[in-house]
Amino acid sequence: MAVDLRDQGYPRNDHTPKDEPASDRLVGIYTRLGINQEFDISFVGRPNEATSAQWECFPWAAVRLHRPYSQSQFLPIIFKAEAGCAVATPGSRGFDVSPECSHMNLVTVIWSMIASACLTLAAMHLLVWFRKRTAWANLLFALTAVATAGMAACEVGTMHAQTPEEFGLFLRWFHVPGWLMIVTLVGFVRLYQRAGRPWLAWTVCGLRTVTLILDFVFTPNVNFRQITALRQISFLGTSISVAEGVPNPWMLIGHASLLLLVVFAIDATVTVWRRGERRQATLVGGSIIFFVTAGTLQMVLGMWEIVHMPLTPSLLFMGIVVAMGLELSEGVLRASELSDEVHETEARMALAAEAAGVGIWIWNIALNEVWGSERWMRMFGFASDADVTFENVMQRIHPEDRETVEREIGRALAERVDYAGEYRVVLPDSTQRWLTALGRVHPEANGSGGRMLGATLDITGRKASELEIAHQRNELAHLSRVTMLGELSGSLAHELNQPLTAILSNAQAAQRFMAREHVDLDEVRSILADIVAADQRAGEVIRRLRSLLKKEEVHHQPLSVNDVVQEVLKLMRSELMNRGVIVHVEVAKNLPQVQGDRIELQQVLLNLVINACDAMAERSAGTRRLRICTELVDTASIHISVADRGVGIPPDMLEQVFTPFYTTKVHGMGLGLAVCRTIISAHGGKLWAQSQPNHGATFHLTLPVDARSAEQREDKHE
């Protein structure tokens, strides 16, 4: 841009050296403030053409002082040239042109900005990487940014180079950040975008490395065989240097690596796009493709001197850096959003947990610290700010439940399975609550320690109603039992009468023997032994009766089904005899035990036997046959059947007989079978009826085998 300052009223004194056409470089000189109009500045030639000591050299121009001036006489002279602007201040030998001022042209400004922006970004992301060593994408980005800054510096170096050697040197070192740039870019695509073919990635990096090595093998660099001269061209209003020389064909390897990089980037972008991450594909992939293509083009055109232009890849790569930075900052943004979301989710969780009455806890096993939500702390009677350890928690658990809980948690930790349990806690004010807890083990990466997370719920209310139901069921079972024994009272009295008769007869016989003159002591001893035996028998009957009549809590224990059958038949002996019922018992030998309540199981069998007898009451005496069988089914359950030859049950009544208050008996309450079914269900078994009308009915019941008994049995077999 040529401006003639003379038109603007500035004094002008053209002193242009003959050998230097100043017109293409210098437009005009002006003094903003001239104290003395006599001084005189000319811009001439290039620095290397300066011949006089009075010429002060600087890259763009020289100032010739025509006369010596004292320093005080001069204020800064601002002159303007195409290359930029500089401030000249009077120095001892003339004007000292301060370097920073001398570089304060648009090129310097832009490139410095690129470099500083890149370094700032690099610093930020390095910091992120330092904090979180797994954030490799951030490290790669930081390196890319550093490389871009380095490239920018080298580019400025070439543009401001004074000599071909200087230019060559800067261009050689330019390849170092260039190599870093490309390698980190490839790494970023592979790591962050998780795309791109590995073989392409390796080829690009390999070719680039070869280029770097060649760069240091050749002099001055991989791009030039020889730089013959520097040519000043005008760029962004500044005069900059571009090289003229013999291009080095080896730089084709570098260009190939760039081309491959473009291919690699396209391939990766397509993959990312197909994966559905379109924004990332457009932003990062698109910018890489575009800017690398542009950079390649520039390198090819510039280095082969097809077009004279300065080296500005950093400007292009800055675009990539910006895109990458944007993408990464998007991640940061997302993380912050996630964090917000997490907070919100946490708040919602807490709300939900509070509303559902769930207490949340986390047990850090290595540190033995238990964190609990406020509700959880309340559940265990801890102050909300208390430091809680596992032992503290165990201390709160009811002594009877403690061992089970500890064992179950130990098992969960050892086998890495979920924990689930119900237990009582005793709070400091000695109130007792029922809690149910679920826990999951989260092991540490190295397998040791880890954490256990869980939720706890207060189930005191539910437990109370469960106990209430169990209690009522128990009451009903007892009622049914008493009713049933009432029906049997005659036979039971007979059972008791027999030993009493024996006792009385024996005792009175003894009295009579004793009254004789010669007492047969052997006879008396024998009598006494018989009395004792009969008494024990009577006691046994009473004990059996009492256990059935007593109202006791259900007590499950391992027991033999065959024993229960025998006990019931003993109780029913007289009854069966009076009713003229012939019993066939077929019990399987070596049956494993079942877990059950002896009294309740006796009750069920008693009920079935009495029903069977009732069903056969109408039959003629010889045909009243009852069959009781026990057998093992599938090694997991025991099957008991009670079959009669009575009137049978119509098919549509087979289920109805189990409903409460259904009865065919005149004095029955209709509770017997309903209670029996409840009892068997509570034992984990099944009770059902089968019948051929007029040929009798069979009641079947199954009971699960006691696991421990089954194991012992297997051991025995081995």
Binding site: N497, Q498, S505
Partner: protein, 227 residues
């Protein structure tokens, strides 16, 4: 059940006693109860009172093994598996054997007792039974048996005597016990009064009676009725 060791022993005992009895004719108490302890106790009690006792574990054993001719009585438990006391009584009666029976029951009721008594039981006692009551009942039963046997023996004798009569004499005897005069009898039978007189004296001689009144009494007892 009959192969059981104990009943066999009881049987031997019984055989031995049977032989002894033919000499002494002492009454035997037969006790039947399915409960061995009760059976043993009752037997002891009866023996302590000096009675001869034979025990059976079931009605069936008794049926098979008892010597019908031996004097004595039965002590039966009402409720036993298989054949109960009352059924046994019924069965024996059907066979024309009506021994003196004392019933024992654990849970007796009135209808059951009435039925037993109607069929001729001596007593119906509930368990546990007191020694006095049992011994009294057993004694009464033995006494009844004795009387019955005596009566039966007399009846047998009458029948034996009656069996010695000729048909004509039996005809005449029927008329005599009907209270008809010799003359009437002679007219009915188409003979003379003198012949009837001869028959009559022969009848009195054969029937071992001295008076007409006595003849009428034993005839009544033996169930011999008029024409």
């Amino acid at each position: 059940m009959s192969d059981n060791a104990q009943p066999l022993a009881a049987h031997d005992q019984h055989e031995m006693r049977g032989r002894l009895r033919s000499a002494q004719d002492a009454p035997v108490v037969y006790v039947v109860d399915d409960d061995p302890a009760v059976l043993k106790g009752l037997a002891r009690l009866l023996r302590s009172a000096g009675m001869e006792v034979v025990t059976y574990g079931s009605a069936h054993e008794l049926m098979v093994q008892r010597d019908l001719n031996a004097p004595g009585c039965l002590v039966l438990d009402v409720s036993m598996p298989g054949l109960g006391g009352l059924e046994l009584q019924k069965l024996l009666a059907q066979q024309g054997d009506e021994p003196a029976i004392v019933f024992l029951t654990g849970h007796g009721n009135i209808p059951m007792g009435v039925q037993a008594m109607k069929r001729g039981a001596v007593d119906f006692l509930t368990k546990p039974v007191n020694d006095v009551a049992l011994l009294k009942a057993v004694s009464a039963a033995i006494e009844r048996d004795r009387t019955q046997r005596l009566a039966r023996a007399q009846l047998d004798e009458i029948r034996q005597c009656y069996a010695t009569l000729t048909p004509r004499e039996r005809e005449v005897m029927q008329h005599v016990i009907a209270g008809r005069l010799n003359k009437q009898t002679a007219a009915d039978l188409g003979t003379v009064e003198k012949t009837i007189k001869v028959h009559r004296s022969r009848i009195m001689q054969k029937m071992k009676v001295d008076s007409l009144a006595e003849l009428v009494r034993i005839a009544e007892r033996a169930g011999i009725t008029g024409p």
